[in-house]
Every structure is written in C-alpha cells, then in structure tokens.
Symmetry: C2
Subunit: 355 residues, 2 copies
C-alpha cells in the first residue's frame, strides 16, 4: 500500500442534525477524505481534512465530459455497539470496475479501505442509531484536468464524504409505486450501464421527473434494444416473486451489479428459496399478474435496502401487488438484511465488518 494517510482535524465542529428526522444526503460530517492523481505521479497525498468546498478551474473535465464514478455504502451502529460496515470490499471492487470502464486509473483497495475506516472513526459520533438511520458513505472520483477536448483526464481527485441519513424514500419501508418506462432508455448493452457513473443518473432524470408528475416515485427501466426486458429501478435492482420462485434480471452489462442484489440472492438460496437470474420480459410479468401468480416485487439497494413495490404502471394499466401492502417475503428479507447490517442478527456469510 505504501502511502500514508495524513489527518488534519477540524477546529470548528458543526452542529449535528436532529437524527429523528433526517433527510437523505443533506447533512455532512466534519471531515472528508481526499487523494489526488496526476499522470506520471499516480495517486498521491491521501489525507483526511475538515469537510470543505473544493476549488476547480471552470475548464475541469468533470464539468464538461462527465468522467466521474461513485459508490454508495453504509455504516451502521446500535446504541453502545460497534460500528459495522456491510461488504465494503464489494463496493471498492466495483469502484475499480467503474474506474476501468471510464478510463480512470485504479485505486488501491486496501488504501481506500483504510481511508474509509480512519474517516469513519474520526466522525464516529455522527453515526445515528435511531431505527432506519445510518451513516451513508459516498466515495467518488472526479476528473480535474483543466483542458477542453474529449480525452481521459490526466488528473483526478478521489474523495469520501459521509452523511447521516434516514430512509431514502419518504415512504420509509412502505411500498412504492413504480412506473414502467416505455419512452426513455437509461442504458444499453455496450454502454456504461453497469458502471456507477454520473451520466447514467443524468440520463434517467427526465423519465423520473415525468413519472413523479404522475404520482410514481421511481421508474422501472426496460432494455434499450428490445424495449421489453426488465432492467432495474432508478437506484435499485429488482426482484419478483412469481409462482413461488424469485426471479431477478441477470447481469447483462447494462444494469448495475448491486451489492444488495448479490446479498439477497445468497440469503434467499440460504433459505432454500429458488432464485432465477435470467431475462424477464414485461409481457411475462403482465401475464403472471393476469394469472394471479405475480405474488410480490421489491427493489434492492444500499440506500433503501429493500423497497417493496405496491404498484406497477405499464402503459396506463395498473398492477397492484399484494394489495399494495408489503409482502411477507419482502418483509422477511428486509428484517434479515437490516438485522445483519445492524449486527442484531447472526451473520452466517461473514459479510459484516467490525470497525
């Protein structure tokens, strides 16, 4: 690993927010991690510094050509308990897969892990312990070279910021209504859909805005080639319980390889529930709904963990799932996953990392 992380402590700690009513992603802790990259020199100067604005030339490539990647993970704590991370290496590995896809130099995963641990330790008091709360961790890389022209940047910054958060959806663990998108496309095979990069999210804003105008909290994306295979939801992978089996779209290059998705698949198998990772068309879903075999649906993602789906709107036809209530499987998976993450359920997988 080689590089040593320096620490500059904040001399003016901020007021902490009321943790009983946290909005997602609005508050940030007292410190941040930053490390710079210059071609020729490599990554250098890893440091923890007081949370502060960053100053960039207006020509910095990040403002023009979208060469960025990010990650999202969480630290959990119960009152008096240790700080727990959930499969953090999976996120750091994915960060590097995203980096590779975006022509960004790799980051030493051990160094990033060390940075993560030190930063969280320093701001440990910021981790909320109320039900449904956690410390959201946002590692990200931006391209900083101040030169116009489309080419990979020769300079980058890798940062980690921390945010105490409540539920991602205002609805909390209540079922969400989802609009199945037939006009807009988020990503396509051969593109960057399986990388966690800004452009994928920007590409989804318009559809999300229109769906939200119709009263839906998220869109369900279909594939960009046939416009019929289920991909994923805004920032969640998606699972359907059809006739006793659980089906989720296979990793196909255009959806994100979710850490929660992978975990849920393993948990379900651990419970001897059959899981199929395969192509799943909207027609098959509609057919199952008509036959009464579409029993449950839920999204999986770090922010919301498990988000039951109460309604799907496909071209104006509303499909209500489990009478719009959280289904028993969604509930069971949610309880188990959040129990694991908070350290109140025994971890048979070795996923939980104590800080």
């Amino acid at each position: 690993m080689g590089l040593k992380i320096t620490v500059e402590r904040s001399t003016s700690p901020k007021q902490k927010p009321d943790t009983s009513n946290l909005v997602f992603g609005k508050h940030f802790t007292d410190h941040m991690f930053i490390m710079d990259y210059d071609a020729g020199q490599g990554w250098h100067d890893p440091r923890i510094i007081p949370y502060q604005p960053i100053s960039l030339d207006p020509a910095a490539k990040v403002f023009h050509y979208g060469q960025t990647v990010f990650e999202g993970m969480k630290a959990y704590k119960t009152p008096g308990g240790p700080v727990l991370l959930f499969r953090p290496f999976k996120n750091l590995q994915r960060l590097n897969r995203s980096n590779t896809r975006l022509s960004i130099p790799s980051i030493d995963e051990d160094l990033a892990m060390e940075a993560l641990k030190q930063l969280i330790k320093i701001d440990e008091d910021w981790i909320p312990t109320d039900e449904g709360t956690s410390l959201y961790i946002r590692p990200f890389v931006i391209s900083t070279q101040a030169t116009l022209g489309v080419s990979p940047s020769e300079q980058y910054s890798f940062m980690i910021i921390l945010s105490p958060v409540g539920s991602y959806y205002a609805e909390g663990i209540n079922p969400v209504s989802i609009f199945v998108e037939s006009e807009y496309v988020r990503a396509v095979a051969g593109g960057v859909g399986n990388a966690k990069t800004g452009g994928n999210y920007a590409a989804g804003l318009k559809a999300q805005e229109e769906a939200s105008g119709k009263g839906y909290s998220q869109v369900l994306w279909l594939d960009g080639v046939h416009r019929k295979y289920i991909e994923e939801v805004g920032s969640m992978n998606v699972f359907f319980k059809i006739d006793g089996k659980v089906v989720t779209p296979a990793l196909n290059g255009s959806i994100l390889d979710g850490v929660t998705r992978d975990s849920v698949i393993q948990v379900l198998k651990h419970w001897n529930i059959e899981v199929e990772e395969r192509k799943l068309s909207i027609d098959e879903l509609v057919e199952a709904y008509r036959k009464g075999t579409l029993e449950e649906a839920f999204g999986t993602g770090t922010a919301a963990v498990i988000s039951p789906i109460g309604e799907l709107n496909w071209q104006g036809d509303k499909m209500t799932l489990n009478e719009g209530r959280t289904g028993p499987l969604s509930e069971k998976v949610y309880e188990f996953m959040t129990g694991l993450q908070k350290g109140v359920v025994e971890d048979p997988f070795g996923w939980v990392v104590k800080l």
Copy 2:
C-alpha cells in the same frame, strides 16, 4: 430579458499564448461569464468576472449525477477585420434542447447572446488570427446543489469560458483514420444521445482510448439497437460521398444535431449536389467500397470544421478512401465553410453574425 449583466474587469491580465502553435483547449482568456439559478428565484446575477476557479461543495450534484450540458462554438477574426460568430443562435437553441432533456431550467437565449457578445468584446485581443486558429467558446451548465440523491438539482451555474485554439486534430486538415466500433455503444434511441451532455462523452472514452492504441484518432459509432447503422464520430457528424451523391445519417434521436452538419447540408444543396439524410448501414458502406463507389468521407463539427477521413477500419479490414488524401469535395466544403466563418467568402445564407 430584464436581467442586467454586470462586469468586473481583471486587474492582472494573463500572458497570451504563442498563437502560432496553439493546443486545443489549454489556454483561457482573462474573463468568464457566470449566472446562477436557484429554484424559486430562477436565473439571477449574470456577470462577467475575471477568469477564476469555482468553489463547490463536494456533495454538489455535478460531481455525482452528471447533470450537465455544454455547447461549443467559435469566434473568428482576420487581421484588422471584425469579430464574426457562426450561427450562434443555433447553439443557444440546442443548449436549451439539451437543458430540457437533462431537466435543467431553460436559459434566456437573448441574454445568453448578449453575455457572449460582451464577454468576447472584453477579451477580443485574445482572438488569434493565424491560419486555422479561432476563439473557441464554451458555454456550459453544471448542477450545484449540495445534496446526495438522484433528482434534478435545485441550483445551477451557467458559465461561458473562452479559449484561443488551433486545430482540434494534431493532423490539422489532413485526413484522419477512423476505427468503426463494434463492441462499445455511445448512445441509444430513448437515451440522451442527441443532447450535448457530459455522460455521452464519458461513455465514449474507453472505445476512443482503445482505438487510439491501435493508431486511430477517432471511432465511428454504430447504433445501439441493430449495431449496424452509422451514427457519428467522437465529436463530429459524418458524411459519405457514394456514387456522386452525399449521404449522412438522419437525425434519429441518438446523434447530435450538429450545426456544421446542418450548414454543410445546406451548402451542398446550394451547389446542387444531391444530399440524402437517411439510415446508412456499415454493410452498405463496405459494399460501396468494394464496388469502388465510396468516393469520399468527412466529419463535420465546430472544433475541426471539416475533417476528411482517409481510412476506415471495420473489424480489421481497412478501407482506404481517396487514396488516403483529402478528397476534392471535402476540400471544397472546407474552403467554403472556413471562408464563410472568417468572412472572406460571401455569405448567401445570412449565417455570419458580426459582433
């Protein structure tokens, strides 16, 4: 228009670069334009200020979710002559089309035009007059709200920066070699391919990097659905002369509606050359090449104006066009377009705007 642009002049003008040897996008003038947006308030405080770094919270949405748009245009000047802009309103209209697609609030085009004019006037001395040089103009919008979570930003900055430039390609007006991309995809129908937003360029970096490793300066993108219809090149639209006629891919939602493309189509028609805007498959191109009817090819874009294509590599097969030299039509269009833009050729279209 209403808003008044304030001006703060730089007190420490920079050293101007040697204009006989300008690299694209590396030097910036003494001033920049900036205007901010806040939900509720709208766009406000349009101002010209000394060129300076911008300071943003690390949580600013631009760093995470890629909600950005940009434009590219040029100002030209001959020694002693007036400053000329080429169809600037087309760029400002496209800026707003990109804004709409990216859920960014529209910008008053008259105000933007006024900002452009005032800014260029102030930095007029920076406009190079050497052959092949110009002042590249980069208007762009970034999302600045410091809140994590995927949703349109409630705050933005719109900026304009200016850069004296030479040729975009190191080759200058010499023919470029292009690699026809069969693995990666840049954009797909239903996506944001027809918006000038960062994510499209980030998505293309990897392919460009690999092509450049094989000795090609750009890639030619195929459509993301059938993987066979010609779309466009890196930052250029593309034209082929086949059997006496000129063919260019029709605007299909996934390619950029280039200002140079539109202009070249009109110029060709003005010269009574037949132009077809339609679907064009790589197979048709290969077939024409085999039959000897693929006479010329060239890219069109603000940065390079006209860029003759000397070689196309399709799955390892090299197609050499016009013996690798600039074809007569490419040459003629280049001379006419650059003549128009510099004001040395009479403008029958009313495209050139004197400052």
